[in-house]
Symmetry: C5
């Protein structure tokens, strides 16, 4: 079994691994990370008339680029620079607990309301569909701050829509923008599930055509990964459900309608995920039953063969005995018959034929069973 | 195993396959489809006095055929012509998000309320009971627009009832008409589940009479398909439940009573579906246990035969040894006995009989076990 | 396996089979049934002073026999005469949808409120405990109409209690009478579950004493039937729960207390049913593990025997070789020994004894394992 | 298997067996029981100053012993004397439906409110932890009537606490006394679950040390019994939950706090029960996997032995052939070699060694596998 | 199997073992424990200006050290000295039922409100991650009493944060302090689950590389322990959920926000725990399927070998028969052929080759199957 190669994929996986803080540490504490990769801060500020873009070195610069009276989208890529995060906390009044969640990139999808901002955490599948990164959104009036662990190429579609001044996006506030990003994230789950579905199709085909090539560890891991994805997709759905359920003053009616549509997509993701997981769970059963059928087939044929040769060998053994035919007429007179050897061979052939006939009649051998009505 | 033919059916299946839009694309966008099949637009307008029917080339023409003061049923067959859909959106004020759902024919059954229209999506089983198409209903006062992917012959029953001016249908508004269509859709699920039940009956029979003819892949697929149907039937039930639960001003008391009846049918569908799925799940267990019983039966008989011939062959082997009887009286004196050969044969027969007796007593052989009290 | 006889029972079963109407047919339509069996209409009218009984040919006659100021129980046995049903609809103002449910005898247990009547559908187990018939109750002030598919002998107990003018029954209104019938129906489930429990006991005994006599199809069907019964008993419980939950003006405090007691019974039925189902599900596992244990026992003993004779036969084979002892002293000198044969036999006996000892020590043979501390 | 002795315990079991009344019988009817054992009626009447105790022959005598202005505990042991029960019904105004539940000792734990009394049914585990009896409590101001099927020694603790005039018990009303009894009953479940836990521990040990001694029927029954206990413990928890949830005027704040504590115990019972049940369910899997591992171990070793002797026997067979060496030099020249026999023996030894080596390398034989890295 | 060593760990385990009180004992009774270990009472009293620490011999001394106008944290380590507990009850007005829970260290995590204090019970994993101890918190304004079974080193982090006068901790009241401790406890679960995850990884690796080294009892116990941990983590989550849900006047908005964050952690613990449990459950299936595959592989190869030698041995047996070639030309003329022996050997070789070819073609032997496309 190629278990090693299969297992190498395990170190990643959709479920985030928690980096443990010291238990008892102050909450809202951001421990410095050595060798932190520098973060990239982009600010896009737009209104009906104009779209301005820029990059900032720190939170204060971003603050300056975020123009009042417009919708300001600040995308921070890389969350290891805790000084930068704290700067954002001060400049934009972000809650410490939320900031801590931004820095610890192992959060479940969740939605928290703070006094003057809503905080959304989601997990974005990476293009290879193996791992996820964490995306955090702070939604305040006229402001949407988005923290990413790693660059997210899919976000370019949003940037492009802003640049093209798409009417609904420009007219909607920061809440509509938040919806657009959430919708984007949800849509990124579909290819992931599709890829699993395709792999399950392939494995099913392999099971039916060439079961010995199936690698149990691969099925096992797929099952586990799909369970992890399912938890994430359920939590994502719950986040959207809670956003719709809560009375969020900043949520316009238009955004609400679109978010409801997005909830539908999230439910569909969860549905497809569940179906894929059910199938993956069934794969192992299927594999085992196909293997067991093949094994039975083999064992039956071999056992039948062995069973037929048993009596034949016995007959040969009998006439191989060395009783002294000279001592008595009773001692193996067959040995002295003129037709003795043909008689013995016929006896063997007859026994074999009889057994074969019996086995076939019982349906233990050959394909008779199938041809019956 | 005829796995190939069995698997060819898999490309369809009740669960709709999502055609992926580009993640990050504007919501409510209808991408043009090349080679879109032309749509057919039928308008039936009726009141107590009169029923008029006609076909329209586009939304504006349909708008013109829909007479005020009557109930207007517009059936659009084929949703690939996005220009037509957009026309309907403009003429009848349909919400863009709903229209997008109409165009993307992979929706789960759902119910959405918009300001001046209710929007229902259901999935209609095709006559062969393998796939589903999507049906979308926009319900507004005096207006019911119904979008179909493909022609739906079953809808003729509704058309006929309108033409015959059936009192309840004519007296009810567009909401009653919507109910009639939903009821029709729900009723189309019964033959599907029945067909599965019949196939399960057949497979059960095959398992008990001729288990080697059973094709595991077929059971496997049936299980998966029934799981997909179950999700759809649960969602259908939920749609009707939500329509009854929400305060829809357009829903008359009469329609409400009928819809409650329809909810009963939907629940029955879900029940039957669940029962069928349980049975399908049990099939594999049943098959494996029957197969394993048969295999055990075979192995036991063959092993018993082998075990009986083992000692016999051993005895024959002993008397086939070449010890020099001339060297000593101790060397195989049996070979020189006058009754040596009969003695050996009797020894063999006795051994065989003893073993057979022992095996029978233990109930390992023959049908003794059954005849015991 | 006696699968055929076992399967013959399957055509019945507690779950009602739906007779399909044509999808799209008008709701509330009662299609005429050819060869409909005639219905029997009985009217019992009672008050504190008097009990009158009679039979009626049609609804109008029943209407005439139902005296005002009394509680009138109308029992209609046989629901295939749709003209009669429509007559009842007109005479007593029964809702068309409810009447349709009466005629289509495949309903799930349910409770519907109409403006001036409550409508209850339950399923009554037949005395053999294999099938159910549908009982429908229309409860209005002073009136209880009860529709039965087939005669229900158990109902005589109610009739008798009316005739004996039992105080609580006479004093209660039609709602108490409805309770009495529902309670009767619920009580009829106990013997059904008991019969299953007894059959499970028997099968368990058979599994432990004579597993090869167990018929897997029988267990399989019992499982399925119990699942169907469970659905029905859950639905029955829900009907009573809803009757208690809803604010039914016609439900007196006394009836409510009694109905709560009846709910307890329904819960107990559901409980017992679930327990029986759990046991039935466990039966197959139990059977397979007992069978597998027995099979293992057999295979082990037989394999041990075969394995012991293998080396013995080999030794015999060695001394059956024909090497020319005259050519060299190295060629099978044992054959020429005076004690050659006894030596060979001892070698065999020693080998067999050694193997037996080893196998016993390993606990592979005989009952040693058990006797260990 | 000692199945018989194991099964003899089954006629009891925690789940109460229903004595069927005739379906359709009047509710609240107490059918006379022939050979009813006489009941014992004890009355304990206490207040801050004084505790009086006495026994009564019938309900009227008990009524007389119950002093006003005090808390009166009436314990009736034995519920088969229906005349006595009816007397209590009349003297103390107990509701007929509740009395019927007292007489039919197969009730699930439940809580019913009547106008002027609360009615609690619980099931008390017997000291052997195999069966339960039914305890019924009528709680009214200043009065607690407790009906028992059989004497309950554990109740003496309560009597003793009254006699010792424990402050909280004396100060509390009849509701506190009811709490004390309920708490006592809940505490009696702990030893039952503990006993099961201990038996599961033992069976686990047996599985790991001596699996062939495990008796599958015993595990099977334990599973079923634990399922029955679980249902009862869930229902007991629900009873207390409902008592706390409902607005019972007679329930003082102190009693409420204590009952909440008791609810905690009931939840713990349900928890422990569930854990025990999970373990019992796992036992069978564990047993089968251990057995299957042992069986595989045996079969592998035996098959390896057989497979090694197969080729050896074949070689011996070859040199046992009788080709005429005098006819040609090609005919079995080995037989005439001086080193023929040693050659043949070496060939055999070499073959055996080669196979053994191969098997060991494949890890099919011996314990090599374990010693690998 | 090294079952003994594996099982020795079982006497501990996360689930607390109940020390049974006598059923019927007065609630709120603290039975004296002989040989009770002495308790350690620490008092930390802090406000913005000052932090004072001290140890007390009894409750009265602790009372004296707890300064008004400050937040006072009293940590009592060791709960076997019931006199001390009762002293605390009197000095600080702790409710008797809560005190009883403190003394009986087998409580489930729970949250109880009393009139003037909130009472929280949690379970703290020990550093080895095998067992838990009970921590009880009484939260009153300006006062937090914390009872521990054993010293809890992790608590030092809190003490240190107080000494360092961390602003949020100093500014928050006793409720914030309670949150800090609860958060600490929740964080202690992460390493426990991680350790299980790591062990599961190892066992998976062992299953794929060296399945015979896997110890089933270890997997079995891990499953059970994870089930116990899961119950505890669910209950812990529920405690926090209830604290947030209830209207606790002493809970400040800040504490509420932090507690919500802590709830997130608790949910994550429950999630990870569930995932680990799912994996552990899958381990046994995985192990069995890998073992069964290996076994099948072995059996197939061995059976194929046996089956090939069967016919060969038979041929050898035939030419070992002793028919008298001198009596007739028909009697084994092959024996007298010049090429007789080579002919026989070729016959054997041909048979073996034919069988091998057939087996390979059927994919029963060697690795052919894999190399197919």
């Amino acid at each position: 079994m190629r278990s090693r190669s299969a297992r190498s994929a395990r170190t990643h996986g959709p479920a985030p691994k928690r980096r443990h803080g010291k238990p008892g540490a102050s909450p809202g504490t951001l421990p410095p990370i050595p060798d932190a990769r520098p973060s990239l801060v982009e600010v896009i500020s737009y209104c009906q008339q104009e779209v301005t873009e820029g990059t900032a070195a720190d939170a204060a610069a971003a603050r300056a680029l975020a123009l009042p009276g417009r919708v300001n989208l600040i995308v921070v890529t890389g969350v290891e620079d805790h000084a930068l995060l704290e700067g954002f906390g001060e400049q934009f009044g972000l809650h410490r607990l939320a900031l801590e969640d931004v820095a610890h990139t192992h959060q479940r999808p969740k939605f928290d309301e703070y006094e003057d901002q809503d905080f959304v955490v989601l997990r974005v599948p990476d293009p290879e569909g193996q791992t996820t990164q964490q995306i955090c959104l702070f939604v305040a009036p006229e402001l949407l701050i988005c923290f990413l662990e790693r660059p997210l190429p899919a976000l370019d579609a949003i940037r492009e829509r802003i640049r093209q001044k798409r009417p609904r996006l420009i007219a909607g506030g920061s809440d509509y923008l938040a919806y657009a990003i959430i919708d984007l994230v949800v849509d990124l789950y579909f290819p992931v599930i599709d890829a699993y579905d395709k792999r399950i199709d392939e494995i099913e085909d392999t099971i039916f055509t060439n079961p010995r090539r199936v690698e149990v560890p691969v099925i096992h891991e797929m099952k586990r990964d799909l369970a992890a994805w399912q938890r994430i997709s359920w939590q994502t759905r719950d986040v959207i459900l809670r956003m719709l359920g809560e009375e969020i003053p900043t949520l316009s009616q238009t955004t609400r309608l679109h978010l409801r549509d997005c909830l539908d997509h999230a439910r569909q993701v969860a549905d497809l995920n569940e179906a894929a997981r059910d199938r993956a769970t069934g794969l192992l059963d299927l594999y085992l039953s196909v293997m067991s059928n093949r094994m039975n087939e083999i064992m039956r044929v071999l056992t039948v063969i062995a069973t037929i040769f048993m009596p034949l060998a016995f007959i040969a053994g009998v006439y191989g005995m060395n009783f002294d035919t000279t001592k008595s007429r009773l001692n193996m007179p067959e040995l002295g018959w003129a037709w003795g050897y043909p008689f013995a061979l016929s006896l063997m052939a007859g026994t074999a034929a009889g057994l074969l006939l019996y086995f076939r009649k019982q349906g233990w051998f050959g394909g008779d069973d199938r041809k019956e009505p």
